[in-house]
């Protein structure tokens, strides 16, 4: 009991370092409660999806929870180390007045036990409140009605409490080990002795340069989306290594270089800062690198998940250009099937009426083949793999092109157009202004007019084109011109055209989804039934889950950044207090001292923000390339989201910096 009273006194006496620690641990508990609750309730939240989606979402939040725990351990470890370092003096004092190692250990354990009790109870209570709140937000994003109640589940609460308790147990062990290895009195003496000037660590410097350049080179150079996905984690690790190495070794190197330049160095503003920085970077390099990495992770996570969330229409449009589409047997094949096209149409119309969906427009397109083509000027060639992996995604002029005979086109549009030899119709979701088209080495074809697309132009980045040929022979001739490799394929596919029915619908998503399922279930000669609404719902749920997790992790990263910033300010302040007193005595006015401090803090704390911005800017094209795998090709949108995220984060960072700088100034004064 004695130790608990003592511990309580200590917590109060050292508010400056214990309050942030408690705050961080409590927030850690809250975040774990939220993440574990979502994990536990993922089945209910994704209830109106398939079992597969539910399981996958549960799995995803499990990984989220694991990441959260790992981050928590690192953060707690760091905070605890800081706590010990700042309290060496106090521990030494207790040592002097007769506390042995055993007593010191008991005291520290009692303190941690108190902290654990506070942060776990507060964390669980607030965690319940915040997880309710986050369910509402998630429900809103998912389109799940807000009143869907999630019961108070004890399991995630107990899990979160257990995790935090285990983290505290780890801290107890770490502290016991620290006390066993150190004598507080000796530590005190060592701390007051002057520190050696750090040497330039050439090996680390070179490793940092190589790692960072390799990481950046990978981010810029690997333009193939699949390659980007594979390289992503390697590049991330390389950049992390590079950042740490350069912050630790590179900074000392640069400041030493500045010191060699006498005209720069011997100026009041630079003199004190450069010398200080050389010494500070040894202890601070790692901390600043951590802030940089955390900031970059926040930016990348939030920007990417927001882009995915905003990209839902693009993702859906890429696979489902029309509200509803299905393959139907072609007119020529109907003999085999029991259902005629007319019967099919009537039955679909009946089903639509039954499900309160209005068919606004119905288009039947019979397409001979669908090939990716690249339009360069008036030349057309078959798209190669390289065309998909440009520096900024697929190269311009890349179109997924449908080939159609004039007969089928007239059938689709109900017109009676005529084409002479060497004439075609050309249409696209993007304006195509060619007047002639040359396939491979074949003689150019004249573009007679614009072909009307079978469906509404969509938002997908890769355009769609429609090429209408006079007849099958003209089509075969054109395709053969691409080379012998294609000739073989052309003969096979061109002879077997496919008929797709595109429906433009009017009705709620719920009704459209029901209609899609009804058509799929009823035997009316429709195959491969796809509904945009159905797809949109699944995709939206996925992206909401991503965004939700991105935000949770983002909050966690920001929390970690704030904690490190705060602790840095406190330790810097304590280290600098004496330095500035001396400067004032040798003739630096208070204003000059303040200026010096400011410029030093600015460099120390804005460098991470700037570097994080650079990292993010370099990573952005890389991530965008990975995003093309999700059919998100909108570079402008992604750049905008990244810039907005960066701006918001910068404001947040400046606020965090200003708030923590107050602590610094109070200490230095």
């Amino acid at each position: 009991m004695f130790y608990f009273r003592l511990a309580a006194t200590n917590l109060r006496a050292h508010k400056r370092i214990f309050v942030p620690f408690l705050l961080a641990m409590t927030l850690l508990a809250i975040m774990n409660v939220i993440m574990l609750s979502v994990h536990a309730d993922a089945g209910a939240i994704f209830g109106n999806n398939g079992v597969g989606v539910q399981a996958a979402a549960t799995e995803m939040f499990k990984y989220g929870a694991i990441v959260m725990v790992i981050l928590g351990v690192i953060l707690a470890w760091y905070a605890n180390g800081f706590l010990l370092k700042q309290r060496t003096k106090q521990l030494a004092l207790y040592n002097v007045i007769g506390f042995g190692k055993r007593e010191l250990r008991l005291m520290v354990e009692a303190e941690l036990a108190l902290c654990a009790a506070i942060s776990i109870s507060l964390g669980v209570l607030l965690g319940i409140a915040f997880s309710r709140l986050s369910y509402l937000v998630l429900g809103k994003m998912l389109g799940v009605p807000g009143h869907v109640a999630f019961g108070l589940d004890a399991v995630p609460l107990l899990q979160a409490a257990g995790i935090i308790a285990l983290i505290y147990l780890l801290l107890v062990l770490l502290d016991a080990n620290w006390l066993r290895k150190h004598r507080p009195l000796e530590m005190l003496r060592a701390a007051s002795a002057g520190e050696r000037e750090p040497k330039t660590r050439w090996l680390l410097l070179i490793i940092g340069l190589v790692a960072l350049s390799a990481g950046y080179a990978a981010a810029i150079g690997i333009t193939d989306p699949l390659g980007a996905l594979q390289w992503f984690f390697i590049a991330v690790v390389l950049v992390i290594i590079g950042t740490y190495a350069l912050f630790i070794a590179g900074s000392v190197f640069i400041f030493k270089l500045l010191r060699k330049n006498k005209r720069y160095y011997y100026q009041p503003a630079h003199f004190i800062n450069v010398a200080n920085m050389i010494h500070r970077m040894r202890q601070n390099g790692a901390g600043l690198a951590s802030i940089t990495i955390l900031a970059t992770m926040t930016l990348v996570t939030i920007a990417t998940t927001i882009t995915l969330y905003c990209g839902v229409p693009q993702i859906v449009a890429a696979t489902d250009p029309a509200d509803l589409s299905y393959l139907r047997a072609t007119s020529a094949e109907t003999k085999k099937s029991a259902i005629t096209p007319a019967q099919n149409q009537a039955q679909v119309a009946a089903l639509a009426a039954k499900h309160h969906v209005k068919i606004v427009k119905r288009t039947v397109a019979t397409i001979s083949a669908s090939v990716p083509l690249r339009f360069v000027g008036n030349r057309v060639r078959l798209a190669s793999d390289q065309d998909y992996s440009g520096l900024f995604g697929p190269k311009p002029g890349l179109m997924s092109s449908d080939l159609m005979t004039l007969a089928h086109y007239n059938q689709m549009t109900g017109r009676h157009l005529q084409l002479v030899k060497n004439e075609i119709l050309l249409g696209g979701t993007r304006p195509l202004k060619q007047t002639t088209l040359q396939f491979g080495r074949a003689e150019p074809l004249r573009v007679r007019g614009t072909a009307k697309m079978a469906y509404q132009p969509n938002a997908a980045a890769m355009g769609n084109a429609l090429l209408v040929f006079k007849d099958e022979a003209a089509m075969t001739h054109a395709v053969r011109a691409f080379g012998s490799k294609v000739a073989h394929f052309a003969a096979a596919t061109l002879a077997a055209p496919q008929t797709t029915v595109y429906l433009q619908l009017k009705g709620t998503d719920q009704h459209q989804i029901a209609l899609t399922h009804a058509i799929d279930r009823t035997k009316l000669g429709a195959m491969n039934v796809r509904g945009a609404a159905d797809n949109r719902r699944t995709v939206l749920h996925w992206m909401s889950a991503f965004l939700f997790m991105g935000i949770l992790l983002g909050i966690m990263f920001i929390l970690a950044t704030a904690l490190i910033l705060y602790y840095k300010q406190v330790s810097e302040g304590l280290a600098d207090a004496k330095r500035y007193r001396i400067l004032q005595q040798v003739g630096l006015s208070e204003r000059e001292v303040k200026q010096t401090i400011n410029s030093q803090l600015l460099t120390l704390f804005y460098i991470p923000l700037i570097v994080a911005g650079v990292h993010t800017a370099i990573a952005a094209p890389f991530i965008q390339r990975v995003l093309t795998l999700f059919q998100i090709f909108n570079w402008g949108q992604f750049a905008g989201i990244v810039a907005a995220t960066l701006a918001v984060f910068a404001v947040l960072y400046v606020i965090m910096y200003k708030a923590t700088a107050q602590v610094y100034f109070r200490i230095v004064k």
């Binding site: 002057g194 050696r196 011997y266 100026q267 001396i582 005595q585 040798v586 003739g587 630096l588 000059e592």
Partner: protein
């Protein structure tokens, strides 16, 4: 024309939790002539540090005036106080107060850099000054690589590099062993012979015995003063000890005068 002149200086502190004012200094008047070497002696809490802070323009007196090198300190605005200190005063502290992030040369150059001296001029001065203080081969070393005596000499070099009108030393031998303390005091003596005005605050009788004149402060008042005259250092030391004993016994100066100070004042007059 004295370099430093204090007239009826008083300093009162008001503590936050105590309505009673603390009278740190009462009616102090003294003057230091150019080329003088003055020691101020007193016990802890006697007010000697307050006095030094006032002279250094780090603090302002409650009453009275302080004239340093022709400038009344109270007329200097806060914003120019630092510059004034830099240009007219040199400081040597008990715990050296060197910056551990600078090497010896940069520590010495600090005041010059702050007053934006061109690099070649700085180099010239540090190269001229370092040998006088036995630091010629230590310029690239860092404070942690030096002994206490060497560190204090670096601090002295930092104080002297601006060619100050007055060198203020606050307990300069406090952190040194007797041998290094003696070396430093000898150095101060040489500097004084070369024309440097020195004002030293100390509670070490040995340190004070190196000065030409010793002032005693007790409870914020000037208690007594001794002139070296043509006394040897050891003889002065005996007189200082006697005065200290008298002061500690809480005798009034007149009572103490019967034993030691009468002689001292007498010899002092002769010296003038």
């Amino acid at each position: 024309m004295p370099i430093l002149e204090l007239k009826n200086v008083a300093k009162t502190y008001h503590t936050r939790f105590n309505a009673n004012a603390v009278q740190a200094l009462t009616d102090i008047s003294l003057s230091v002539e150019a080329g003088e070497y003055v020691a101020i002696m007193g016990e802890s809490g006697s007010g000697k540090s307050t006095l030094l802070n006032l002279i250094a323009a780090l603090d302002k007196p409650t009453a009275g005036s302080i004239d340093l090198n022709g400038t009344e300190l109270s007329t200097i605005p806060e914003s120019r106080a630092a510059k004034f200190r830099r240009e007219h005063l040199g400081f040597v502290f008990q715990d050296f107060n060197l910056l551990d992030t600078f090497n010896v040369k940069d520590n010495i150059l600090l005041p010059l850099v702050l007053s934006k001296t061109p690099v070649p001029a700085m180099e010239k001065r540090v190269l001229a000054l370092a040998p006088q203080l036995g630091l010629a081969d230590k310029l690239t070393k860092f404070p942690y690589e030096l002994s206490g005596g060497q560190q204090q000499r670096v601090a002295a070099a930092r104080a002297l590099i601006t060619d100050p009108a007055l060198l203020l030393a606050d307990e300069p031998t406090g952190a040194l062993d007797s041998h290094t303390a003696d070396e430093l005091l000898t150095l101060f003596g040489k500097l004084n012979q070369a024309g440097q005005t020195i004002l030293m605050v100390t509670h070490s009788a040995v340190a004070a015995s190196h000065a030409q004149r010793v002032l005693f402060i007790r409870d914020g008042r000037l208690f007594h003063q001794l002139y070296r005259g043509d006394l040897s250092q050891d003889e002065l030391l005996v007189k200082i000890s006697d005065t200290m004993t008298a002061m500690l016994a809480k005798q009034t100066p007149t009572q103490a005068g019967k034993t030691a100070s009468a002689d001292a004042a007498h010899t002092g007059k002769e010296a003038d």
